[in-house]
């Protein structure tokens, strides 16, 4: 048998940490003969292999693309700094895992953009591939660089680096794009002509075909296409018949332990809840479920084809899945006798979920997670988190009586309209949870209880009711964190309560990039040149590289992060139509100010606009 070639020799692979990141050959990875395909697609996740291999989106599109005989889709991840250095020193071009061929020779380089802190890694991938960083400098010697994923709901801070963006769910329009590309190659179009034609496809945004002018105050004056044939708004593309959408029955199984080392069963997409801080809750509207039958069939196939020892249900709010009980019972039946674990994240803590969890995990060791997000009821009403103190305390009580003694509570600090009382409220809520524990007769308690309150800093995101909100400054965050922490220390059972909070400077940068405009492209590039890379890794994050980058380009980060936006401001992302209307978001922003709760999609339609897609929860009651 012919031995599989690797782009890197043993001299390199044995010098780097975890060479398994770079050799491919995983179970279910797809090999094709390059001679037999018309389109070679390199799919990049701009972070470490172990992170990227945990991502469901790539697996879905990898499988879907490779079902086409004319396409070979391969994967590429960010080389860790140890290999990064060697590739630069030895002039080795970045390569894909399957064929081990240089990325630059591909037809497409698709980059999934999951979080803002990976922006410099996008430049690393382009740079190591030998592809010009700026789309305008590319020729047919370079692939078409296309971005997708959640961050493309505001692609402007990275617009210069992409030929195309795909706005929406990948399952819907790639076939059209590939077909167009084949025509382009057959007829020998120029790159410009291809991009122009691609701009006519629904959901495809070609940043170079739009012009932005700014007002003196730095806000956008006008954002418009350069010609009449180019659409002024880009409509997000979504799957309407979610039950029949393509799903990878045989996802690639890494040798290395990925961050999420399990089979993922996506039960639904979208969310009915309408939490006002949550971008996913808005951009993935409307909620669309898969049928129980489909999920049973998928689960069976996934386990059989991967051999994983754990299966996880994935969605924004799994408790809202209508046939959850039946699904979970099926999985328990199928899995437990074969030694397969079931993991159930994002479940509301109630009698049902506790009963299920007691069957699938070790109660004594595991901890239960609540996400009140805010410490007071008023604040939870501001953010429209439909979780009341009663519900939390009742859930905690049932959990403690069920044998659990470890509880985690997730909070955000820096939310709009937050006061000192709200920060202190975090401590008070923790104490109330402790009270519930100590109300249980001593002989029925299960050792000492442990309550962990973990705080992250709120980052306002595009397409949420909080897109108008000023973000707290790092020092405000820390003040509030200290207020909450000091308050915890005055609580009766403070010895049971652990209080932790996240790094503030990374959150602020995330805030700048999340609501940034095209002017930020220069800063992203400078930050990369200043050595910023793997910014999402706290120990690698260099605030200095970014501070210098903003200074070098005359950019004031506060303009993006801390400024309150006026109601009539044109946002950099306004050209995208997510179905949910700006007027709905504005209404929700007002409701937030009034701490007024909006019912969820199943209780009452609030007319957000997502009904235009013609499917999902909007039409549930009409069936």
């Amino acid at each position: 048998m012919k031995e599989r070639k690797t782009a890197l020799g043993a001299d390199v692979l044995l010098r780097v940490e975890k060479p398994e990141r770079y050799i491919g050959n995983e179970i279910n990875s797809v090999m094709k003969n390059p001679e037999d395909v018309n389109i070679r697609f390199a799919f990049a996740f701009p972070d470490l292999y172990e992170i990227g291999m945990s991502h469901l989106g790539i697996q879905i599109l990898y499988d879907m693309f490779n079902r086409r005989d004319d396409v070979w889709c391969e994967r590429v991840y960010s080389p860790w700094p140890d290999l990064d250095r060697i590739l630069r020193e030895e002039h080795i071009p970045l390569f894909t895992l399957e064929s081990q061929d240089p990325v630059r020779a591909f037809d497409f380089l698709g980059i999934t953009i999951q979080y803002e802190m990976c922006y410099t890694n996008i430049l690393q991938i382009l740079d190591l591939s030998g592809i010009p960083l700026h789309a305008e400098d590319r020729t047919w010697d370079d692939p078409i660089v296309i971005g997708g994923g959640p961050c493309t709901y505001n692609p402007e801070p990275i617009a210069d680096f992409f030929d195309l963006f795909y706005i929406g769910e990948g399952e819907t329009r790639y076939d059209d794009l590939f077909d167009l590309y084949r025509i382009c190659k057959k007829e020998g179009w120029t790159r410009k002509r291809f991009l122009r034609e691609a701009s006519h496809l629904p959901g495809i945004y070609v940043p170079s075909l739009y012009q932005v002018t700014y007002r003196e105050d730095g806000t956008i004056d006008e954002f418009r296409p350069v010609a009449d044939d180019i659409p002024a708004t880009i409509k997000k593309q979504i799957v309407t018949d979610f039950d029949r959408v393509t799903y990878p029955e045989a996802p690639v199984v890494p040798y290395l332990k990925a961050t999420q080392d399990r089979v993922v069963l996506e039960v639904q997409r979208g969310c009915i809840r309408g939490c006002r801080f949550c971008q996913a809750g808005m951009v993935y509207r409307p909620l669309r479920e898969k049928s129980l039958e489909t999920l049973k069939k998928d689960a069976e196939a996934l386990l059989k084809n991967t051999g994983y020892e754990e299966i996880s249900l994935s969605s924004l709010s799994t408790s809202d899945y209508t046939e959850l009980k039946e699904l979970v019972n099926f999985l328990i039946e199928r899995c437990t006798k074969r030694g397969i674990n079931i993991s159930l994240p994002s479940l509301r803590i109630d009698a049902f979920s506790l009963d299920v969890m007691s069957k699938v995990q070790d109660v004594k060791k595991s901890s239960l997670t609540f996400a009140p997000e805010a410490g007071t009821q008023r604040m939870r009403d501001v953010i429209n988190k439909g979780l009341t103190e009663d519900v939390i305390l009742k859930g905690a009580g049932e959990a403690f009586r069920g044998g659990w003694k470890k509880v985690k509570l997730y909070f955000m600090l820096g939310l709009p309209f937050e006061t000192e009382e709200d920060a202190k409220g975090i401590a008070h809520l923790c104490q109330k949870v402790a009270d519930v524990y100590f109300d249980i007769p001593k002989e029925e308690r299960n050792g000492k209880c442990s309550i962990t309150a973990s705080c992250s800093f709120f980052v306002p995101k595009p397409f949420t009711p909080f897109q108008w909100a000023p973000m707290d400054r790092a020092e405000d965050f820390l003040d509030k964190a200290h207020i909450a922490k000091d308050e915890v220390r005055t609580m009766e059972n403070q010895s049971c309560i652990r209080f932790t909070y996240h790094e503030a400077s990374v959150s602020v940068l995330e805030g700048v990039l999340a609501r940034g405009d095209r002017k930020l492209c220069a800063a992203v590039e400078s930050a990369y040149r200043n050595g910023a890379i793997f910014d999402a890794w706290t120990e690698r994050f260099s605030k200095d590289a970014w501070d210098r980058a903003f200074a070098e380009n005359g950019i004031d980060p506060a303009f993006y992060a801390h400024r309150e936006r006026s109601a009539d401001e044109t946002f950099p992302w306004d050209f995208i139509d997510i179905g949910v209307s700006k007027s709905f978001l504005q209404r929700e922003w007002m409701n937030a100010a009034a701490a007024s709760v909006t019912p969820n999609c199943r209780e009452k339609c609030s007319g957000c606009g997502a009904k235009v897609f013609g499917g999902g929860v909007c039409y549930e009651s009409q069936n």
């Binding site: 043993a10 044995l14 030694g339 070790d362």
Partner: protein, 244 residues
Amino acid sequence: MRVRIKFSKNGSMKYIGHLDVMRYFQKALRRADFHTSLSGGFSPHMIMSFAAPLGVGLTSDAEYFDLDLEEAKSSSRMAEELNRQMAPGFRVLSVREIPSDKGSKGMTLVAAAEYEVRLRGSVLPEDCGGTRISELLGLFLAQKEIFVTKKTKKGEREIDIRPLIYSLSYSDGTFSMTISQGSSNNLKPELVIGAFAAFAGVSAEKSDMMIHRKELFADRTENGTHHFVPLDELGTDIKEGIDS
């Protein structure tokens, strides 16, 4: 029932670390729908033990693990079903029944290993300072003691490796050796070649060596002489009749 599975690991799969190989086989066994015995508790695991973990960068024709099964098929059928689940570079060579007692575990029994080592490029020229490698090797082995520095977790210490080398020869660019392997007196092939290179007046690092494991042996010493038996020979084939 306990079986011993022998497999090979070649090509780029030499970069897969031992723990990941273990996880890889657990998944392969589940894909092949093997009825493995499981430990109790909330995260039950297969009862599986490797005879001698292989370092990253080494290839092998003789990796072994012992596995407890609830239900077995014939040896040939089990090997075939597992091979359907292998990635290129891995190949299951045999599945044989072994006794279930503690003393029969591969990990306990392994006493020696056969390796082939090739050196990259011109680290050790054929005509090494006027003396041929094979002649030098004779002189090297004729020494009563060969002291090398062994790095351990506690630091460095000097050990005499001569008694741990059972055979060592050279032909056509390849060193072949049978050396001590196991929980006590574990000798690594790179240490042997490193010592020989030093004896020849050159320096050879592990990264210069292509190391291939050929076999793992139990020692069935009789009358004071080593009698090395490959680990798979200690098992017996499960016959066809068992398949339905």
